[in-house]
Symmetry: C2
Subunit: 383 residues, 2 copies
Amino acid sequence: MSVTAAQGFTAAGIAAGIKENGNPDLALVVNQGPRLAAAGVFTANRVKAAPVLWSQQVVKGGQISAVVLNSGGANACTGPEGFQDTHATAEKAAEVLGHSAGEIAIASTGLIGVRLPMDKLLPGIEKAAAGLSAHGGEKAAIAIKTTDTVHKTAVVQGDGWTVGGMAKGAGMLAPGLATMLVVLTTDADIDAAGLDSALRAATRTTFDRVDSDGCMSTNDTVLLLASGASGITPGQEAFAEAVREVCDDLARQLIGDAEGASKDIRIEVINAASEDDAVEVGRSIARNNLLKCALHGEDPNWGRVLSAIGTTSAAFDPDRLNVAINGVWVCRNGSVGDDRDLVDMRYREVRITADLAEGSETAVIWANDLTADYVHENSAYSS
Amino acid sequence: MSVTAAQGFTAAGIAAGIKENGNPDLALVVNQGPRLAAAGVFTANRVKAAPVLWSQQVVKGGQISAVVLNSGGANACTGPEGFQDTHATAEKAAEVLGHSAGEIAIASTGLIGVRLPMDKLLPGIEKAAAGLSAHGGEKAAIAIKTTDTVHKTAVVQGDGWTVGGMAKGAGMLAPGLATMLVVLTTDADIDAAGLDSALRAATRTTFDRVDSDGCMSTNDTVLLLASGASGITPGQEAFAEAVREVCDDLARQLIGDAEGASKDIRIEVINAASEDDAVEVGRSIARNNLLKCALHGEDPNWGRVLSAIGTTSAAFDPDRLNVAINGVWVCRNGSVGDDRDLVDMRYREVRITADLAEGSETAVIWANDLTADYVHENSAYSS
């Protein structure tokens, strides 16, 4: 499982003391080769954390030999000093591993606007390197948790090759790009261009369509590393599908563990004039606080779905909109439809179908409900 | 106070039985003339309630003789039958008052997707008409309340003329347009074009910049009626300023009484390249759920302000952004600024200043925090 499911990778997860509670907070993933190909996608937030700025440069070279990830601090909005901290982290890992710093990606997660404790992080890299193992994937996945209640890993087996990965993310979960830290690894023998193509296609319809709380992170990073250790070069289509499956699996795990959530909401927009319209409508529904409260209260309040659709620029006629909640068409032709009392809301998953009656395009957005627990968790996070 | 502060208006507020709890739910405002000039602005939501579609047509004629307002049901997403209900309401008021139905505006507020009980509403119009009084403004303001805890009225005195008004709105408070029901009256002798100009200018910087919960209503209506009863035609500038003051006063009252809120958040964006940039950034900050939770917890979490700014398309350099909370510049040049422990968060009003360091334009957006009370109130609203 995790980042060591594929051959040619070692990993470690340790407690470096970055988190005051002593929990694991530093992960190291190393590509043992023979290939060191890599691709990455990053947050679309224009306020980007220092490790994002650094790793974007690393990925441009198409090679990553190792990834250092820390929880306990985002190293975002920390100025030139924060960037120097990221640089020093890469230099330290390069020294310990005998690699080039320019091929070491860095990812950080935690509170924005606080410098990392470098006196703990740098010795932690030595400790992590000493613990590297071909079975270290689980420990690495545990070490990147913040408010995650469980660690998240996934794996898909190809024909003689494997794609595996780990993810963290529980709040500030929204789109634009992945809004989370994810490292995927494969032993397929694929070059950086093939990885980039597969990764962009996969994230576009998975992590990009997760919108738990509408808040886009400064630190989103999704990396895909290939070791080529299987010696097999699969067809691009089969490989891309495996990457998409791993991303989809991890994306669903993120929604299922979102801060304070009691419902996972699957919003499917159908019969849209374009895919962009479908995504815009899905996101608008996903971000409507009143609807998110209603679904928390197990109230199939389709009026709030319509009021959310009405704020978009998508093509639709208000008098032809149809909405189903958990399969019951509670709104037909923009007005009252089937009996809302028929909607069974007892389960964690809620399915909303919004029919725009304009075309044939579709998109699915995943969201969460809005709960008092979300408020409590996020009122007290940094204090 | 309220809609009867100006000469030439009568009003009433009664319990017609639309609300099951027996509270007042029907208001009537009548312009006694001699002038019947009027202007209106309406929700930008493309899913519009039947009374909005009706009143938009009425306002096009530039004359309104009376406004019928009901709480206890929004008459939105009710199909052709809902529009017929609005039409029948106007016809009934026309019959009782001896007016033309085409000059009677209708406004409704309450749950979306439910037909109004016309067997109660129509007799209620007769009852309200029988109770019309030049002192009825307060009762009218009380009858349009939904989850409002207090009724909202305001008045500004000109030189021999008056602008007064009433408002309701506590949830689904967002922009695009007013997101609330508001009736303003004046005895100034102004034609429909002058009213329209003053009203659009006023709402653009008051109701349009209230963003309590990011949710745009299907029923927003702001009407301005002139009786000309004072016989005075003030200068357009003085009149427009009086209208703006009344709108500003009512807008602040809406924020101060928003569902479940414990903080009123004044977000001032300064040194923007354009007013549009300032509004876009202000709204993005206003709608960031994580920030709204943090402010509820009295945590001056400026990192969440920066992450919200980063999602906009406004002109700015991340390394030149400055943010003050309650006057303390906790973020300077995109990084850690003054000591956050200096920020006093004990009071209901929280002031955020976001300095984009790009130009000289400014905008102020008002918002509320996100609380467990908001979640509770909106999880149980329709059930």
